[in-house]
Symmetry: C2
Subunit: 148 residues, 2 copies
């Protein structure tokens, strides 16, 4: 049993919820998937392993995974909500280009440290941090100036 399975099971036990077969399947599928995914992609993958898991259960399990600290919502404002692993992945900022939609990720260890300090002062317990910068990437800036 992998580490994230232990974590999820511990979380469920604490909440007096059951570590059922559908939940096990969804969990292992999430961690077999790319770091970024949406509910529908997850559902498709889960169905490959078992046709007996419904879309509703996938949608119901995602918030549990979020609350357990295993995943969090990722880049926003797309049609579907997207999620990303946070267990075992250092936090990173997302630089989203408004023009081409490309996403660049950069390290944010330093910023996280600053936020942790501020959290201590405010007595706030951090579960998720999302930093998103939108604008124009270098490619689209070049295209914009060329076409003038």
């Amino acid at each position: 049993m992998q580490n994230h399975e232990h974590m999820f099971e511990a979380f469920l036990v604490k909440k007096e919820l059951k570590f059922t077969l559908p939940r096990k399947l969804i969990l292992s599928t999430v961690f077999a998937l790319h770091e970024h995914f949406d509910a529908e992609q997850l559902y498709d993958e889960v169905r490959k392993a078992s046709r007996n898991v419904s879309r509703a259960t996938v949608y119901r399990t995602i918030p549990l995974l979020v609350e357990a600290g295993l995943i969090q919502k990722s880049v926003r404002s797309e049609a579907r909500d997207t999620y990303e692993h946070i267990y075992g992945h250092p936090r990173h900022a997302h630089w989203v280009c408004r023009e081409c939609g490309g996403v660049l990720e950069t390290d944010m260890q330093e910023i996280c440290k600053q936020l942790q300090k501020r959290a201590a002062v405010q007595n706030f317990e951090i579960a998720e941090i999302s930093l998103e910068i939108k604008g124009l990437c270098w490619k689209c800036r070049n295209n914009a100036t060329e076409s003038q």
Copy 2:
């Protein structure tokens, strides 16, 4: 005419769009509203000024205001998309409590400076910055420990 009206008009002219009456109305309503609002609230307010503005036009104008740099999407993951003024408002981080839903705002001038530096290196042109921290506020942490 206020400054944000000049900005919006300049933006529209540059895009070869017209500064029509509905757009003027929506713009002035946005800036008469709280810093945070959603499309429906905006629509309700606009309708108070004129019953001849449709929901569709409100929804169509919001992305223009975003692109013009006057507003941006705010705290996410609520049912409706919410927006906040950015023209004339220093950027701030949102600390969202998962338990009570409360939102605290803190300054992020320092972080913005760091991001500007990194943007210069990447040759990225920043239009929006959103920093959202989710977790438990001090009140809800206290409640949690009491009830154990």
